[in-house]
């Protein structure tokens, strides 16, 4: 497949594509926000694996992977639920799972909140993430 280079935008002022914004670290249509108080019920009530992204506002690499997770969420929403947990606001869950580095991604199988099924630490590209999550998105 060959993709032509996009034409130079005709309008230098832009602003004509308001509906095409890429979602940031906040929560989107495909991603839910968890807190210390909602974490357990969400994991135990899930009907598919849940990937929890432990992040904070002051963490650059967390912001780098945010759009990647957004894409993975929108493309694999039927198989994998993606959730975010802000470690600043919700220190208890982070402590419980010994999260000592962010971004940390923990994947929980439905109902199994005692122990994560997979732990990924640090920012990774989309291809590598999908490879490491293969068993959950296949």
């Amino acid at each position: 497949m060959r993709v032509e280079a996009a034409a130079f935008p005709p309008s230098r002022l832009g602003g004509d594509r308001p509906g095409n914004l890429t979602k940031g670290v906040g929560v989107s249509d495909h991603i839910v926000a968890l807190t210390d108080s909602t974490f357990d019920e969400t994991i135990s009530g899930a009907d598919k694996p849940v990937l929890v992204d432990f992040w904070a506002e002051w963490c650059g690499p967390c912001k780098m992977i945010a759009p990647v997770l957004e894409e993975i969420a929108s493309e694999n929403g039927g198989k994998l639920q993606i959730a975010k947990l802000n470690v600043d606001d919700n220190p208890n869950v982070a402590m419980r799972y010994n999260v000592m580095s962010i971004p940390t991604l923990l994947v929980f199988k439905p109902g199994e909140s005692a122990q994560e099924a997979r732990r990924l630490v640090g920012a990774k590209g989309k291809a590598q993430l999908l490879q490491e999550l293969a068993e959950f998105v296949a």
């Binding site: 497949m1 060959r2 993709v3 032509e4 280079a5 996009a6 130079f8 935008p9 832009g14 602003g15 594509r17 308001p18 095409n20 914004l21 890429t22 940031g24 670290v25 904070a56 002051w58 963490c59 650059g60 690499p61 967390c62 912001k63 780098m64 945010a66 759009p67 990647v68 894409e71 470690v87 600043d88 982070a94 010994n98 999260v99 000592m100 580095s101 962010i102 971004p103 940390t104 732990r119 630490v121 640090g122 590209g125 989309k126 291809a127 590598q128």
Partner: protein, 250 residues
């Protein structure tokens, strides 16, 4: 960062969030391949950044995220009231050590030489900080711990003697490597692998190809200087495209 991205999208940028695996810079339009998909552009800006260098130990990989870290700003928060080691002797090591004293009870800077490579003012600030102590002429041979960091095994480079330093976290700050492997055969790079750019410019050895940020800068390496050179690259690419237009339109 999110707002920059949103602004670029508003101005018509398309994002492909993936790793490029091959490039063809022989002539414009330049080619970039991602998982078998070929993209072509009349101009190309490279901003692949640099990656933190690791110690290269098996135990370091095993304990990454369990006490081993390469980002003090990201992870310092998790080490409140703990003892830490910072490995390195340059500005970033000293800066990380100083930053980490906000959380840690004690920070030991482990450096393979007998003096800091960091700038004088940074070094003096670290020497004056009561929470920072130094282990000179020492390298980390192993990170000790099962499930979490318990100590670093140090080797004295003068005597070859080993000793364990009890810490709950290790921050590795021994420099960066530019992410330029993809381009080294096709662009001029310096001995350390940084893409060579023109004076006061982001131009590379190939006309129409520009490089911005840490992949071409081993001196400043700040978010704001990288963003600044990114802006320079955008303006230079725009000039280049404008100059090509008459022929490209035929």
């Amino acid at each position: 960062m999110t707002k920059f991205r949103e602004q670029a999208a508003r101005f018509g940028a398309d994002f492909v969030t993936a790793d490029a695996d091959r490039v063809d810079l022989a002539s414009a339009p330049f080619g970039v391949w991602v998982d078998g998909t070929e993209y072509r552009g009349e101009a190309l800006i490279i901003s692949t950044g640099a990656t933190a260098r690791m110690l290269g130990l098996e135990s370091e990989q095993r304990l990454l995220g369990h006490g081993v870290s390469t980002c003090a700003t990201c992870d310092g928060f998790f080490f409140r009231g703990k003892r830490l080691a910072v490995v390195g002797g340059g500005d970033s090591a000293v800066e990380e050590a100083t930053f980490l004293t906000k959380f840690a009870t004690q920070v030991t800077l482990v450096h393979r030489r007998d003096e800091l490579r960091a700038s004088k003012i940074m070094a003096e600030r670290a020497y004056a900080n009561p929470k920072i102590d130094f282990r000179w002429n020492a390298v980390v041979d192993d990170v000790v711990g099962n499930g979490r960091v318990e100590a670093v095994r140090l080797r004295d480079t003068l005597t070859d003697e080993h000793s364990d330093l009890a810490v709950e976290g290790v921050f590795v700050a021994i420099g960066h490597d530019p992410n330029s492997a993809l381009f080294r055969q096709q662009l001029d790079c310096d001995d350390a692998g940084y893409i060579v750019t023109g004076a006061d410019s982001t131009s590379t050895s190939v006309e129409g190809v520009f490089a911005a940020g840490d992949v071409q800068d081993h001196v400043y390496r700040q978010a704001i200087t990288a963003a600044g050179s990114g802006c320079m690259a955008a303006i230079e690419a725009e000039h280049w495209l404008a100059a090509q237009e008459p022929t490209a339109r035929q």
